[in-house]
Amino acid sequence: MKFSYYPGCTLKNHAKNFEDSTLFSLAHLGLEIEELPRWNCCGTVASLAADDLIHQLAPIRNLIRVKEAETTQVVTACSMCFNTLKRANERVRANPTELAQMNDFMYDEETPYEGDVDVYHVLDLVRDKVGFKDVAAKVVNPLGGLKVANYYGCTLVRPKQVAIDDTENPVVLENLVSALGGSPVEFPLKTECCASYRTVDSPNIVADKTYQIINSARSLGAEIIAVSCPLCAFNLDQRQEATLKYHPDFIGLPIVYFSQLMAIAFGCEEKTLQFGLHHFPPKPVLTGKGLI
């Protein structure tokens, strides 16, 4: 079964560590994926206006690209891309009139969109197409009980129509970490918002959220936090510098993508992990456990 791969903008630069570790891990799991030869911005944040279809065009055009690549399934690692693509898809599936209007507007497209592409997150594939039992069987470098707090943020679990798991208490990342040989740490802020794009104009708000989220995970014994969104990663990792400025008692924790933990457990080379892109170095805790 072949899946089209939609990377999104940030996985090609600031989150190259996310992309490289995801591609390595999916290949190790035997999933056949191929990057779309042409793709555009997903829209980043889903438009919530009922009367505004123009902002739904960007994600739908990407789904047309998937059809042109002769697949019916697209997978993305970035949770914000996943959210905008899947929400636009669910919206047009439920509203044939809107879909017809959008196809009319996109008269330059040779392929009309008919709601016939399925949108998946990497975690959907790992859980539902591979299964955690098979994931565990493919582990060559178990995580040695590494205590991982799993941070979902918003876009993997809200709104309910596109959530990959329970909206208030998702467990897919915890189950993955267990399958990889780590010890998931339950913490109450795993679906709390990190203040998202306000990092541009109000890093002080992001600093407060980062302080709360990381402190919560730390106080429950986490050694590392796993994320699935490049914006959460930026806010929780790169903004630790600002967090320390606003909260001098802040200690911090390393932030990694869940895919980096998969890649480590699947025996990747260190260059796949691209630790140079991290602010808080994850290497000491990982070498301490003998993982790299």
Partner: protein, 139 residues
């Protein structure tokens, strides 16, 4: 000194027009809200808001346009959708806030001037954050 804190609720054409516009853009029935406050209780950004999410809905129900379009809260909300997920009446509060934002933005009153962002910010911020803020703050 006596301060008049009374609130005048009107049903004039302008007020009703604003209520209808918010309902149309948000796709929500504002009257469904019975002010339980669950949205504000769970809002991760409430600490930074001048008008709380349940208060935004109350103001929208009665057409308080000026109080809404001038509030800081409409820009504080990042559409994390915690409120929508927990509302016992199924009101999509984030959509109502988006509607008020849209009412401002559709008159070309941007909340952010991208050209005035410091160079350091533009260099360091990932595209996902920049585009996200431009989508929410500019027309």
């Amino acid at each position: 000194m006596h301060l008049d804190k009374s609130v005048r609720i009107t049903r004039d054409k302008e007020t009703l027009g604003f209520v209808a516009k918010v309902e149309r853009i948000s796709g929500q029935n504002l009257k469904a809200c019975y002010q339980c406050g669950k949205c504000s209780a769970g809002c991760p950004m409430a600490a930074y808001m001048d008008v709380l999410p349940n208060q935004i809905i109350r103001l929208a129900q009665f057409g308080f346009e000026e109080e809404l379009v001038k509030s800081e809260s409409i820009w504080t909300c990042v559409s994390c959708l915690t409120c929508n997920n927990r509302c016992p009446k199924g009101v999509k509060i984030a959509e109502v806030i988006e509607a008020v934002r849209q009412i401002v933005l559709r008159t070309r009153k941007d909340h952010m001037d991208v050209e005035k962002l410091p160079l350091g910010t533009l260099r360091n911020i990932p595209p996902i954050a920049l585009i996200g803020s431009m989508r929410k703050f500019t027309s």
